[in-house]
Symmetry: D5
Subunit: 88 residues, 10 copies
């Protein structure tokens, strides 16, 4: 099942961001390789992304998102997607 | 899988509401009996409801919602739900 | 009487969260066991939940919510619910 | 139990308002006399009011509000009230 | 003259709240006793209240509100009220 | 007492605006001459104005505003003003 | 270049929707086949979609969107996308 | 003096748009030729534009904007601009 | 030329406000005496004001506002004003 | 290709702003000289600007914006622009 996710990152200045960002990147690569994180785009001009996730259940999506290293510093909004009638 | 749905109904004055509302009620009862529509509450003071749906996929949820008789006159917002760690 | 409650948790980084979260969980379990907290769902991707409370009065609901260990770090919105005419 | 209610009235130009408004006024007087509608204030400059209702249950409040003659033309928002610790 | 006031309190964690809250309570009691603060309700689930003030002028209302001990930590919104035509 | 008022006019295309606008203008001039309507500015690019009213009571302000010919087609927001401590 | 587009469709009740919707579907299929409209998902519960477009210039994207049969009845929001540093 | 203007056009379906749009275009060209309307860009995907106007006074800007043929069908927002300290 | 300005002041608790506020007051008096700052009202219940400025150019207004001692702690919104057709 | 960008700067009080602001200015001048940053205006009364960028791709725009010295302290919103049909 597909989910549209917007993530906005707000890292406070006093946080040691580098290691977190590196872990986040590693995890994102893992999830892309394992197929859950199917699309990942940077929103131009913002520390934010639009992503599409393909996961079997809501619970798995929440586990994935809430275990992301940057999760404590992110505002996340999830929208469930369905098949569009005009989709070829 | 569980989904939280808010439905706000806006029926234009010139629509013949009675038959639509009756069909909507019949359909809602059907869906409650078949188990998809697990919770249905009226928001006090508003022609709106909070509902919980239990469906296997996003597509099924969309089919259910978009086929509701009042769908053309509703503003609908869907939020996917996961199991809460404190849930007994 | 039923109330729909949304709770968004915002824990500042410098707060010692673990004990607070543990107390919150214990209290939530208590309230579910005693029947006031009837439904508790995690909003996918967010440190937030939708809940339903069944309490006899507004005052009791406020006492329950405002005494939750995480209350000082939560944004809470309460919506009173009524019986829906299509509810079976 | 006390509830704070905001009502914004939007009467389309082609509606025959006079009889509706008269019925609304009569009903409001009835509810004030029977004690449910305890406070009713006009918001300066707006076709809107702030009201306080004293009713035993959510369902009764919804029945009262949704049966008001102007209900189809109103945007209503209900906020449950509790006793304030500084209230004398 | 009557004014509807909403007060949302946001006390930063590092503020010594107890004395402030006690002073606020004492002041609220004073103003209720002297008749300016005529109604005071807790908004269920929130560190916020709806109040009604009866004061002769805008200036007096501002002096009262801006001298409240918690004023620096409050978001306040004031709405002037008029007599409602259906008020008995 | 002074009040800041924003008025946004939304005249539906099928309304015969000219006579209404003329009556509104006449009334506005009356109120300026009698001193209640002390300031009246056009918001650049919008069919809207910022105004300042000087009236003894909230009720009088509401009577003035709600009796304006364009009132049924206006969104009005009123903010009570007090004397600023830096005002010379 | 990639663009994220949200389209919300609001078809007035008195519009003959069927032919429009059919033309829209045909056009959407064309654009998917020609590669500009790369992704098209239905937002669950809403007459809305999230789409991704791959077009060489802003102008081409606007021409495509503004020439869609349903364009007069759509609210469209376009967000330019860039390559995400964690994209594999 | 420079002003940033956003114009969103909402033409009701039953308005005979063609002549209005043609007049609007003619007027826009006139104002660009006479130098007041210095920049005019289409917002991708929307019947809206961002524009920059160079006019000596607020009044002249309002006269220009409010006399545009499409003005009754536009939502306009004006932001005054100043010279940026980093502007070369 | 006239501009409507709203200023909301947010002074962090750890700022030494007194000297800033005193400088702000002195500057405000200066600008009122020199005629740029023509109107200054306190918004009841809020650390905010509505003001009217009369300045020849946008640049001068920005220089005035951005050089106010409290500017770093203020949220400022400027609306250009034009002469209202009903203004006497 | 043209993009409309709004940048709102929020510099925390404890940040050493001067060097950052100087670097930002130098970079802005560079980008204006190299032609990407074609327009840059100060929004009157706000630490914010409206800008127009002319860049070949979304990615280049994001690289430019996200590498600005003040980027970590800015809220940025990008809107893609197309040629307006009335543009001369």
């Amino acid at each position: 099942m597909l989910f549209h996710v917007r993530m906005d990152v707000h890292l406070p200045p006093d946080v040691d961001a580098a290691p977190l960002v590196a872990q986040e990147k590693a995890r994102a690569i893992e999830l892309q390789q394992s197929g859950e994180w199917t699309h990942l785009w940077r929103i131009v001009g913002e520390y934010a992304n639009y992503s599409i996730f393909n996961v079997p259940t809501n619970d798995e999506l929440h586990d994935i998102l809430s275990s992301l290293p940057l999760f404590p510093y992110m505002k996340v909004h999830v929208t469930p997607l369905a098949t569009h009638p005009s989709k070829i």
